[in-house]
């Protein structure tokens, strides 16, 4: 049974690039194109890994270390994600805070590397990334606070394994509110469309993409792979929260979990197809709105 614990991180490591492929296929479908194959990111990663990295003379070792740090952080995060009732390989009381700060550390490394290049565009992107991250933090922690109040303060695995149809019946509003809040957070953290456009190539409007302009070869492969892992982590959080895993038979939980993640990806694709990218001044409003959803959930939990 111990072996099974490692199934989820393995699935995350192997399948996460596929998920970005699904998003691209959904977007292509909406635009009436055939789109790239679902496996495109695997080909890209393979191609990039065979190349050599090129470093600018003005950079120091920071930009060389950053991709590895970011990859390590994300890999550790996937170790802490539960899979329905199946516990994560690493779980302890308060692991969610470590999860949040590992994500923070990964962001810090990216930002530092972006500043290290000395490019003014990358500095601008770094500044934006940090600003919006600060605004996105409250919705994550407020949502977490609701869960902690509801299920007691324990490891993430213990908390989400308590979510069943019964929970939906008694406090479905909480789950919907926090779920919506975290979905907006997913869009913001993964630089998806209402907040940032992953396909844009205009440096003036980019947020995350502009910070990774100076990577090449294996380093860039790391960065692309990390982006897909991050997407998987947030999708897994949302799915664990919203799907009443506790009520399913154990052998059904894994397929339902994967289906849930695919569904989240399709949803992201649909959102990206039907919404336009927001102006930069509007983004704090969206993030604030997502925090407010969690805040309302908190009020409902405390009052109701």
């Amino acid at each position: 049974m111990k072996i099974m614990y490692w199934a989820l991180p393995l699935a995350a490591w192997v399948l996460s690039p596929l998920m970005l492929g699904i998003i691209n296929r959904v977007k292509a479908f909406f635009a009436g194109r055939r789109g790239p194959p679902v496996w495109q990111l695997y080909y890209d990663l393979f191609k990039l890994l065979q190349k050599a990295s090129v470093y600018s003379k003005s950079t120091s070792m920071v930009i060389r270390v950053a991709p590895s740090v970011v990859l390590a952080c994300m890999a550790l995060c996937t170790l802490m994600l539960p899979w329905g009732e199946l516990q994560a390989p690493v779980t302890f009381v308060g692991d969610i805070i470590l999860l949040a700060y590992l994500l923070g550390l990964a962001r810090f490394a990216t930002v530092l590397a972006a500043l290290d290049t000395g490019s003014s565009f990358e500095g601008m992107g770094a500044s934006r990334e940090v600003q919006f991250a600060a605004l996105a933090e409250p919705s994550f922690f407020l949502g977490m606070l609701v869960l902690v109040l509801h299920f007691g303060f324990s490891g993430l695995s213990d908390m989400v394994s308590g979510i069943s149809l019964e929970t939906w019946h008694t406090s479905g509003v909480l789950l919907i509110l926090v779920g919506c809040s975290w979905f907006v957070l997913l869009l913001a953290e993964n630089s998806r469309i209402p907040v940032d456009d992953p396909n844009t190539h205009l440096e003036l409007t980019m947020i995350h993409e502009v910070m990774v302009l100076d990577y090449s070869g294996p380093d860039f492969a790391f960065i692309l792979y990390v982006a897909s892992l991050k997407m998987w982590i947030f999708a897994a959080l949302v799915v664990n929260l919203v799907v009443p895993m506790h009520s399913l038979t154990p052998w059904l939980q894994a397929p339902v979990f994967l289906l849930g993640i695919v569904f989240v990806m399709v949803l992201v694709g649909v959102v990206e197809s039907i919404l336009a990218r927001l102006r930069l001044q509007q983004i704090p409003k969206v993030l604030l709105g997502s925090a407010i959803l969690s805040l309302i959930a908190l009020i409902v939990r405390l009052m109701g």
Binding site: V173, L177, K285, G289, I292, L295, I296, I299, V300
Partner: protein, 222 residues
């Protein structure tokens, strides 16, 4: 009931953050329908005809008639489709969270037990009242101010439903009629104002039409 209160809070926040007049009118209409459903849910089990009448008349007047009136008013008087704020939309949302905190504080200060009144609903009703007041101050156009008045009234109605259902429904209906007449008059007034001044900017209503400088207008009043 929790869902209705949550939707009420969200619709108020949407009002604070939206810049389109049509969206705002539709949101207020949705609020009216939500509040019409409310007494029916609250009284589940012993619904008598009074509650049905209260609910249905609320839905018809606040959910359908008044928004329709507003829309007609907007169309006839050629008001700009954007809401013009004194306080921007982002800061409005921030003020909204502060008001939400205030609503929570007041509800806890009332020291009611959940048996006497559903606390979440009470909080959201207080919140609607505060948002109504805030919007009245923070928006420039006269039409948005009458919308804010409706939101305020929705909040008062919500508190009423929270506190007691045995409230004589004749009184509720009377209030409803008052509100209806009030908004009707406002619409009429707006229309005539628009004819007279060619704008509906309350900020400029302090100026008299033949005296353009505000300072002289003040002297004129004295």
């Amino acid at each position: 009931m929790t869902i209705i209160s949550v939707l009420l809070i969200l619709s108020c926040l949407l009002l604070l953050g939206s810049s389109r007049l049509h969206v705002a009118i539709r949101v207020v209409a949705a609020q009216g329908i939500l509040l019409g459903v409310l007494p029916l849910i609250r009284a589940v089990g012993d619904i008598h005809y009074g509650i049905w009448i209260l609910g249905l008349s609320t839905i018809i007047s606040k959910g359908i008639l008044l928004p329709w009136l507003m829309t007609v008013c907007v169309r006839l008087s050629g008001i700009r489709r954007e809401i013009e704020p004194f306080v921007g939309f982002g800061p409005s949302l921030l003020c909204g969270t502060a008001l939400l905190g205030l609503a929570v504080w007041i509800t806890t200060r009332l020291q009611l037990t959940p048996a006497e009144a559903p606390l979440v609903l009470l909080t959201s009703s207080f919140f609607a009242i505060f948002v109504g007041l805030f919007l009245m101050v923070a928006r420039r156009q006269a039409i948005t101010q009458s919308l804010a008045y409706l939101v305020l009234e929705n909040g008062v109605y919500g508190v009423g439903v929270c506190m007691s259902l045995d409230f004589p429904f004749i009184v509720e209906l009377g209030i409803l009629l008052d509100v209806f007449v009030g908004v009707f008059l406002m619409g009429n007034l707006l229309f005539h104002l628009d004819r007279e001044f060619e704008h509906l900017d309350t900020d400029k209503l302090t100026e008299l039409s033949d005296l353009s400088a505000p300072a002289t207008a003040v002297e004129e009043h004295a």
